[in-house]
Subunit: 272 residues, 2 copies
């Protein structure tokens, strides 16, 4: 089946690295650094990259939609526009397929989740974060994540998460909340709550294998003062993000997109 | 005597922490986090904070000029303007004092150095960095520093420094280069070269004392995977920045401001 995830955040927040880490694949090859004289983009671009991968024995076609340029200009007014337009054009093309007489094979390339990367300032959300999320939370499942979380101590992560959630609540922004079902067993409910309690996930990404001081080989980042391990839950919430996105909630993300976000858009379109 | 340093960079790059670390004083008290409903600034502000400190047995009046709001808006067009205006108004007030008949006590509150904080993206300079530096390098001694350098591995720091210097060269930006004199001894020259080779300094700041795994008490940041030490030259260039700013070059920074930057501005003003 199809799963489309969009990544949004300013350049240098580790987006490409995180996508590679999440799907354990070099979806994004290492970047060739631009020469200083290179012409810099003037508007937000929308680029897609696809791959067939297998998760939990399930084969899926993964599409990652990148949004280079977002937040990178001196003036970022309306930088959310090309992104909203892209999401809605996918709704349009789905509606068109649904409306065909002969609906043999509907290809669902709607955006099922949007990973929004928050710069680890340690203060609170930036203006651009709030502007973006306000415009997009009714169109796509928003999953805000704290980028490069190895910049923050445990205490700073806890405070930062609290302030981010306060900002989100204050601006009435709806971020993706995994639904819980009454008929689920204790263990699944506990796991769902465990995941929910970590939002926004503070993640570290790495496509490199490094050796820890006690000689284990892990995915991580090696600093002179120690090694951050991506898959170590005492170091960051990467495992939780992966569980939420890939193992536990891929189905819910697609259903919510179809049953709620797309339906609301379709209804609005009919009556506008 | 008077020493005035300006700090510029977007919110959350550790500017207040670094100032406290540099002068070993709580010049900036811990920030009270703003509530989500707080009205956010709309323009760049200029705020000064002063303190009498002693460095190397020399008493000096230190003024730190902060520029909250720079780079923080969705639209940062012209965010350099209030900063350039502030620097020039200080030139104006110095010129006015010089022109008085009775020049008893001239107070030099011109900006002697500007610490420009670069976000540790790992790629290259952002548009706003280039825009700012192009506008200010002829008005003030620019000292670019890589903020929160504990975000970068040793290899990433080396690559990032190279690309930053390439960007700076490409745009003909003049950053402060400490002058070297022919009559200096071998040791002083070697020290000067050692400092110059680290530019732009990759710094880590901390006003907290933490304990290292081998039980030393140091200024630093404690992570689950290790302790970054501010004063450890294998961890960051903080010591070099401090040497350049406080021990070695405070005199040169003030002289260059007076003999070159101010003089050029004064000449331009006379002929404009
Ligand atoms: N500290 C830290 N650096 C990271 C992390 N992930 C990636 N990086 C580094 O950040 C730089 C930019 O990463 P990249 O994935 O290209 O960012 P993008 O521009 O958002 O796609 C590279 O030097 C990466 O090695 C992370 O989790 N923590
Ligand atoms: N990783 C890292 N965090 C830092 C560093 N210096 C300060 N911080 C943290 O970054 C956050 C913002 O620091 P602050 O000094 O208020 O930044 P400012 O907004 O630029 O003045 C705080 O949580 C600091 O503890 C540093 O060198 N490295």
């Amino acid at each position: 089946f199809q799963f489309t995830v969009m990544v949004v955040g300013e350049s240098g927040l580790g987006k490409s690295t995180l996508v590679n880490t999440l799907f354990n694949t070099t979806l994004y090859p290492p970047k060739e650094p631009l020469p200083p004289s290179a012409e810099r983009a003037k508007t937000v671009a929308i680029e897609s990259i696809g791959a067939d991968i297998e998760e939990n024995g399930v084969r899926l076609h993964l599409t990652v939609v990148d949004t280079p340029g977002f937040g990178d200009f001196v003036n970022n007014d309306d930088s959310w526009k090309p992104i909203v337009e892209n999401i809605e054009s996918r709704f349009d093309s789905y509606l068109e397929q649904e409306n065909r007489v002969n609906r043999i094979k509907v290809i669902d390339n709607r955006v099922h989740a949007c990973l929004y990367f928050i710069q680890p300032t340690g203060h609170s959300l930036k203006q651009i974060d709030i502007e973006f999320m306000r415009r997009l939370h009714t169109k796509v499942n928003l999953i805000p994540i704290i980028a490069k979380a190895d910049t923050l101590t445990d205490e700073e992560v806890a405070d930062f998460k609290q302030r981010i959630l306060a900002d989100i609540a204050h601006h009435n922004i709806h971020i993706f909340q995994a639904p819980t079902y009454e008929n689920e067993d204790e263990e699944t409910l506990a796991e769902a709550e465990e995941i929910a309690s970590k939002i926004p996930f503070a993640v570290v990404g790495s496509d490199k294998i490094v050796e820890t001081p006690d000689r284990r080989l892990v995915r991580g980042r090696a600093y002179p003062w120690g090694v951050v391990e991506v898959d170590n839950e005492d170091h960051c919430d990467f495992v939780k993000l992966r569980q939420m996105l890939v193992r536990t909630y891929m189905e819910e993300l697609r259903e919510y997109t179809n049953d709620v976000l797309y339906e609301n858009w379709r209804t609005e379109k009919l009556y506008s």
